[in-house]
Amino acid sequence: MNNLSEKIIVVENLTKQFGHFTAVKGINFHVNKGEIFGFLGANGAGKTTAMKMLIGISNPTNGRANVAGFDVHTQSEKVKQNIGYMSQKFSMYDDLTVKENITFFGGIYGLSRKQINSKTEVLIQTLQLGDIAQKKVGDLPLGWKQKLAFSVAMLHEPKIVFLDEPTGGVDPITRRQFWEMIYAEAHKGTTIFVTTHYMDEAEYCDRVSIMVDGVIEALDTPKNLKNQFQVSTMNEVFLKLARNIE
């Protein structure tokens, strides 16, 4: 487990202000290479804002973050080469087919047509999309869309993939399948940075941080967190933390 000690994301005093409102209040943490890092928090706690700074589409007001060896503020385009991102809002083209979406996103990451074709075949096989590869994405059920979006975020083999509530609104079976996909990628050495509202999913993570009102209140393995708060589930950890703050 040599690679676990290598820090692939380092965040120091990261802050984001919108006018008088401070969404993220100087957070500090790091993520190890190959880890599944759960980034939890209630709605409006500042998770998505923090994540947007890490993926280079929002400039920090203060503080620094280093992702895959590059500074998110000064080298955001280099960061983008090394990360994948799946947004909370489904963001593929509904009016294009599965294949066309894969071609487009592969293409703008700079893959060649040949690479895209072989990747498309593998992807259609693993996701068992055979019959519907020519269908428009807008006609697929949500669970399939999410799995497809995850696979597309992985097309260019990024070092880190950021998942913003990837399983929101998805049935339990698909959620399970989705986490199997996440595990498979983590086994290949990809670092997974995931936000979720499902506390059972938090149990799947190697380490978990819990954000409350723009501040990280707890950060450890799920096991240690449960011990620390003397409870048996992550759900109770989350409730205790959120209640204490109120």
Binding site: K89, Y93, E100, I108, Y109
Partner: protein, 373 residues
């Protein structure tokens, strides 16, 4: 370059997949060109005239015949009192009321001055002016005719001296309004369509959330922008082609100048308009906002383009504003090239200004498109 091709491919697929949009894209401009070109005429025709003939003499009947014979007037309606004539004017049943006084013939024969009263509905001042000119011409002809007759009677040898101006109309010798309007309307249609399409297209991706997905990729700004705008640039040129064909086949607009020059100018002009659309979409969050702002500018551009009202008759400040209006330069250009057969030399100022605008606007658009907020 490869990346740009992927974007262009995707954009074209989306455009051609949206069948209703496709129909809108090509059929609407054709319809508009056909309909608007026929409607946008400044010819004053079918003037409805009401006559109050108190004189009821052979002279007054000659005058009335001349009016009726004129192609611009419909057959006159006769009423017996001025009051009745005014009522018709008030109720909008007539455009002009002519009152011929009782001593009309007598005064003419005595070679003293006589007067007829003409009342014109002048809500539209320009139209009223034209009607007045038509009537004056008829009366003048009538006058000369009378003068001539009288002179013949009095003295056979004397012919009246008169100076006549014989206008020679250049570039549009038949004074056909369609010749004048069709190229201008074509310019409007190309501008409107490409501005709306480009300004709404990128905002749409903002609304869908796909723009965020694109902003997380290492794609370069210029790649995205070129890939996005190229399809609309092509569409603009296709519409120009369709429009020119209609102008030639349906309206028989003369095309004296070099068509290659028209395409060259339009290519640069489209860059300007598309860049402007991109600029608008950078500063709006929804398609409604983009549409509203695009309309705001289009209305100003159209009314200050010199297409419907001559720029020379605008107040000085308005004339200065038109200097920033791209449509103005294109309308001027296309009329010069198609109707006057102007060459590169003559349109160089227009071309230069449009190129300058295109550079500035696209610079602003690229600068204001931010992958990181």
């Amino acid at each position: 370059m490869k990346i740009i091709l992927f974007i262009i491919q995707k954009e074209f697929k989306q455009i051609f997949r949206d069948k209703s949009m496709l129909r809108l894209l090509f059929i609407l401009p054709i319809l508009q060109l056909l309909i608007l070109s026929n409607a946008a005429t400044f010819d004053v025709k079918n003037i409805r005239v009401t006559i109050v003939d108190y004189s009821n003499s052979s002279s007054s009947r000659t005058l009335i015949e001349k009016i009726n014979a004129n192609a611009y007037f419909t057959d006159a309606v006769f009423v017996s009192t001025t009051q009745a004539g005014i009522e018709r004017l008030n109720s909008g049943k007539t455009d002009v009321v002519i009152e011929i006084p009782i001593p009309f013939e007598k005064q003419l024969q005595n070679e003293t001055t006589t007067q007829i009263q003409v009342l014109i509905n002048a809500i539209d001042g320009a139209t009223a002016g034209v009607q007045n000119v038509y009537l004056s011409q008829i009366v003048q002809q009538f006058n000369q005719h009378i003068l001539l007759e009288n002179k013949h009677i009095v003295n056979n040898q004397i012919m009246p001296n008169r100076i006549e101006t014989i206008p020679s109309f250049w570039y549009n010798s038949t004074l056909n309004y369609k010749t004048f309007m069709v190229p201008g309307i074509l310019v409007l249609l190309i501008t409107m369509l490409t501005l709306f399409l480009s300004s709404m297209n990128i905002v749409r991706e903002k609304e869908l959330g796909t723009l965020e997905q694109i902003n997380v990729t290492p794609i370069k700004k210029y790649q995205f922008i070129i890939g996005k705008l190229f399809p609309f640039w092509v569409i603009g040129l296709v519409i120009l082609t369709i429009g020119l064909l209609i102008s030639k086949i349906v309206f028989n607009v003369p095309m004296l100048g070099n068509i290659v020059l028209v395409y060259f100018f339009t290519s640069i002009y489209l860059l300007l308009i598309l860049g402007f659309g991109l600029f608008l979409s950078n500063h709006t969050e929804t398609q409604q906002q983009a549409m509203f702002i695009a309309w705001f500018f289009i209305v100003i551009f159209i009314l200050m383009s010199g297409l419907f009202t001559p720029i020379e008759s605008m107040p000085k400040w308005a004339q200065n504003v038109t200097l920033f209006n791209p449509i103005r330069y294109f309308v001027e250009f296309i009329r010069m090239v198609l109707l006057k057969g102007a060459g590169l030399q003559e349109v160089l100022p227009n071309l230069g200004i449009i190129t300058l605008f295109a550079i500035v606007v696209n610079g602003l658009a690229v600068w204001s498109y931010k992958k990181t907020n």
